[in-house]
Symmetry: C2
Subunit: 260 residues, 2 copies
């Protein structure tokens, strides 16, 4: 970071731009930019060249963290503490904010790859936790369609930086994903609560597979279940009616990835 | 539910009592009572005799749900919609509230039992998700010490009713839990991020075991790790530094329970 600019007003165009990116999905996708808040996640972002376009630090954050947040390019803004509270999406802000570029969608699926597919997952906390888990377990990529916005501040925060590390492919429809998966002869597994599906304890995923996770309340659409080659279920013993979607995704991904 | 009482004032003692139980841990434990909100969770609670002491329904909720919420005992209050919004802990309330009795702590551990132990877990969402997962996977009980309050409204909501089904044992210190576990010759496993621990892929839990999960930021205290007979870790392949505590608990519990 070479250039340091001091901002004092809420009306500064860079601040207004940050807030628009924070609040408006349309702005994010029009500009292919998103915002990240917090020391740890901004440091994670700085590991990737050209990912961070702007950094904003409140005065106290500048004193404490400026040395840890050096980058080769981009702009650095110093802002009053009160302005940081306005920009923040959290209750207790650290005063560290960044505008980041969305990575290009140039992922190529591999016939040997192991993928998690999210279809209509709507809870930002779930999506963030799933990304973090897939990062830790080493999934080749996370594919997603018709989900909540990956680049919303809540998802970004819940990923704990994994959003920068896990390759992601987004499509408008499940059909586009099925088409890409079939081209590589990757076997799709629908995860369902039905007892008629293969119990996860008996499932051998091997390589070249994709596990589909559905919506928190409604699960996967029937059309998706039918388009999958197999259906898998996590056997339930107790009285709970279902798993949390992120938990189901985590247990299935664990089983998919552990058979190395 | 025999007796229906109409309440109109925020100053009604039953309403004030509900709000105290909602907000004050001390009141909850002085009286061994807690509150639950939402149609589904209150219906779950009504499956257990004597668990529900009072139900409050807003006028619209009374019209819609009173027929589904019949109980043999306890009081039923009808309240104005505005009062429901004050009692609610959520943004969009269904207008269904209950005061419930805490179950007695009379759990006996079994030498063949399989237990999850939570030590200093502080996030209510994590604790709720863990209870729900243990319910679904059929863990014999969840033991906990020095955690956030199991009976706080946020935990209760996140359990999705599992709080009524999973046996729980709470103690003030880890030492008390170790003493109970050792009496039954149950083997304690510390879950740690250290690569020196046994990888979960190589771990054979068998019966008579307890897996300890630690705090979200700091993991398990050193003293607890040393007091456990074994240490287990979920192997990480990607760039994430750690799993979310609830996710780690879920994956470990899945492995512990599946070897039936």
């Amino acid at each position: 970071m070479q250039k340091i600019t001091v901002i004092t007003s809420r009306e500064n165009p860079a601040v207004k731009h940050y807030i628009r990116l924070r609040d408006r999905k349309k702005t994010r996708y029009d500009e292919n930019l998103f915002v990240a808040e917090g020391l740890r996640i901004v440091r994670d972002a700085l590991q990737y060249p050209f990912l961070v376009q702007q950094i904003f630090l409140t005065e106290p954050a500048f004193e404490k963290y400026a040395g840890m947040l050096e980058a080769e390019s981009g702009q650095l803004f110093r802002i009053p503490e009160a302005l940081g509270r306005e920009m923040s999406d959290t209750e207790h802000t650290q005063g560290v904010f960044a505008v980041c570029r969305m990575p290009e969608q140039n992922l190529k699926l591999s016939p040997e790859g192991r993928y998690l597919v999210l279809c209509q997952v709507q809870d930002p906390g779930n999506m963030g936790m799933i990304l973090r888990t897939c990062d830790a377990l080493g999934t080749d990529a996370v594919l997603m369609t018709q989900c909540c916005d990956l680049y919303s501040p809540k998802v970004i925060r819940a990923t704990m930086g994994s959003v920068f590390r896990v390759p992601v492919l987004r499509t408008d429809t499940p059909e586009e994903l099925f088409s890409l998966l079939r081209q590589q002869q990757i076997c799709s597994y629908a995860s369902v609560p039905a007892a008629s599906a293969v119990p996860l304890t008996e499932c051998r995923f091997g390589h070249g597979c994709a596990v589909w996770i559905g919506n928190e309340g409604n699960g996967l659409p029937e059309t998706v279940i039918h388009a999958c080659q197999k259906a898998v279920t996590i056997p339930m013993k107790g009285g709970a009616e279902s798993f949390n979607a992120a938990m189901a995704a985590g247990i299935l991904t664990w089983e998919m990835m552990k058979s190395d």
